[in-house]
């Protein structure tokens, strides 16, 4: 601690350079915090979503390939399956493509039976939904975002499903709103719109009688593997072979169809930190080079080689950790903004913690070469230029 004022003063010896270096590290760690949080969100998208006792059955070869609705009865007959519902990816937006809406055609009874503990919706509105063919239940946050209210007719544009009249625009009557019972799940459902499968199936111009995937509730979570095996065995060697997996794995696979997000984010971070390494390393080397006479004086006064090495390493740690804390704090502050941009993705600040470890590693890498140089400094040679 007694060396802190010396190290701190040394760090600010060239204020402009230190500020610019600090800013570049702050920006890098801001980026790190944001990208790691997003990566973490995509890597763990299903945490707590559907519970451990839900399975998803998709087409064995691609989740973009449909399955026959008629499989429902066979799946329901599998021992261990307590409930089955079916869902299809609707792919919709409201007015502009940036207004993504996670709209899903559902079978009301089976869907809410399977997810009965997950929604807060009034009995009256649920009843209205059941009795209105064109009805839709909309997440309360989405209602607020677009200024919708119960009774509104809203058109949603599907990116996939044309109606029989050739239109991609589907109109729904909002009959109620819902919230996730578990507040941590609210952001994942923030763009959800639920409407009737019957309306969808009758209205679409192709794919009639098919569904996107089945979701099963199993009676005993410990039998998930066995039940999944029994379901897939039912359709083995058929024209529509299936792949049944835990809901969490399905969500991850669903996200990965957009590409290996983790790889892309890590590649960006790798490029950023490689540049940062060169930049900060160069700054540290330059800073030590300029201070050679001063370091020689410290050695003259009796500072040992190890102490001088420690001073330069501490300076590097102080620079990198200060900047990292500021950068990570800014990325934490930016979480609500990112959350807004990535609707439906749950963000957690836990991804920020490794940032401090990265800062320490960065500090050691950029600080060690100049520290070694300072340690090996020959006093007589160093003082020869400036007595």
């Amino acid at each position: 601690m007694k060396f802190f004022p010396l190290v701190w003063a040394t760090l600010w010896r060239k204020k402009t350079r230190t500020i610019f270096t600090l800013l570049s590290i702050v920006v890098a760690f801001l980026l790190f915090g944001v990208l790691e949080t997003v990566d973490d969100a995509f890597a763990h998208p299903g945490v707590g979503v559907s519970g451990a006792n839900n399975l998803i059955t998709t087409n064995k070869y691609s989740i973009t390939l449909q399955l026959p609705f008629s499989d429902t009865q066979q799946i329901r007959s599998v021992p261990g399956v307590a409930e089955v519902t079916w869902i299809t990816w609707f792919g919709a937006y409201y007015q502009e493509s940036k207004n993504f809406v996670f709209a899903m055609p559902i079978d009301t009874d089976t869907y809410f039976n399977l997810h009965k503990d997950e929604f807060i919706v009034s009995a009256a509105q649920m009843n209205a939904f059941r009795t209105t063919r064109t009805g839709a239940l909309v997440n309360a946050e989405l209602m607020k975002k677009f200024g919708w209210k119960v009774g509104d007719k809203v058109p949603l544009h599907s990116t996939i499903w044309t109606q029989k009249n050739g239109s991609l625009d589907w109109t729904f009557d909002i009959v109620g709103s819902f919230l996730a019972k578990d507040p941590t799940q609210q952001s994942q459902q923030a763009t959800s719109v639920l409407f009737h499968y019957e309306l969808f199936d009758e209205g679409r111009s192709f794919g009639k009688g098919n569904v996107g995937w089945f979701e099963e509730r199993i009676a005993n979570p410990s039998e998930a593997g066995a039940v999944a095996g029994r379901i897939d065995a039912l359709f083995a060697n058929s024209s529509d072979e299936t792949k049944t997996q835990p809901a969490k794995d399905f969500t991850m696979a669903f996200v990965k169809q957009f590409g290996d997000i983790g790889f892309v984010l890590r590649a960006i971070l790798g490029a950023v930190f490689f540049t940062l390494l060169l930049l900060t390393g160069n700054t540290m080397m330059q800073s030590v080079r300029e201070r050679i006479p001063e370091l020689a004086v410290l050695k003259t006064l009796g500072f040992s080689d190890g102490t001088v090495l420690g001073l330069v390493i501490t300076e590097s740690l102080l620079l990198c950790l200060t900047a990292a804390v500021i950068g990570l704090a800014l990325s934490y502050a930016a979480l609500p903004i990112i959350k807004h941009g990535l609707q439906g993705v749950e963000l957690s600040p836990r991804a920020l913690l490794p940032g401090l470890g990265v800062a320490v590693i960065l500090a050691l890498i950029v600080g060690f070469p100049p520290a070694l140089r300072a340690m090996r400094l020959n006093i007589v040679d160093a003082l020869a230029d400036k007595r």
């Binding site: 004022p5 010396l6 003063a9 010896r13 006064l301 009796g302």
Partner: protein, 231 residues
């Protein structure tokens, strides 16, 4: 007879630069008594600074023995030599070599960072040293805010603060005007006479050398007159 604080016996120093070997000091023997004020003079390249470096423990001889304050320096490792310097010798340089980002007081505190003194004790010692050299009122000023003479006084305070037995000064007035130079030399003389500090200075300036009790002249790595033990 006063005991020798510095004793060099048949000391040689050779530098190797590439394929070239340069003999800087050649079979040099010298004794400097406790409490003596010695001026080393001679033309550039005569080996004055090399001799000063050896006496101050900044360098080690190629051959020969160097004993300072009872310690054989030629036998010490680099780490042990650093520890020895921190307690036994104070350095004053021509260009002061103060840390530009630290105040005068913080500069003077530097050698005390290597001791077990608390922050307040270090501060008290630093202020005492600055008072001794007559510049306590500039304690909160940075080197850039000080004149050359004031900066050199701060450097002397830094050299004194750990209460070393020996002060080694390399051209301490080389960067000062005559008036400031005389003030600094009077200060060194006072430290020698009233506080018993042994002082070795290297200088080109005959007037500066007059402040010393003994003048030694060097040329081509040898003392022109062999050092004698002061009575």
């Amino acid at each position: 007879m006063t005991a020798a604080i510095v004793s060099l016996s048949h000391v040689s120093k050779r530098y190797v630069r590439g394929k070239q070997s340069i003999e800087v000091l050649e079979d040099l023997s010298l004794d400097i008594a406790q409490g003596e004020f010695v001026a080393l003079m001679g033309p550039s390249g005569s080996g004055k600074t090399t001799l000063l470096n050896l006496i101050g423990g900044l360098d080690t001889p190629t051959s020969g023995q160097i004993t300072v304050a009872g310690q054989r320096l030629d036998r010490l490792s680099s780490g042990a030599l650093a520890r020895w310097r921190s307690t036994h010798v104070g350095f004053v340089f021509q260009f002061y070599n103060l840390m530009p980002m630290l105040t005068a007081q913080r500069n003077v505190e530097l050698p005390l960072l290597l001791t077990r003194l608390s922050g307040s004790q270090r501060k008290a010692h630093a202020l005492a040293a600055l008072t001794l050299v007559g510049i306590a009122d500039r304690a909160k000023h940075k080197p850039s805010e000080l004149s050359g003479g004031q900066a050199q006084r701060v450097a002397i305070a830094r050299a004194l603060v750990a209460d070393p037995t020996l002060l080694v000064c390399d051209e301490p007035t080389g960067d000062l005007d005559r008036k400031s130079a005389d003030e600094v030399l009077h200060l060194l003389q006072e430290l020698n006479r009233e506080h018993g500090k042994s002082i070795v200075i290297v200088t080109h300036d005959p007037k500066a050398a007059e402040f010393a009790g003994r003048q030694l002249h060097m040329d081509k790595g040898s003392l022109l007159e062999p050092g004698t033990l002061a009575a």
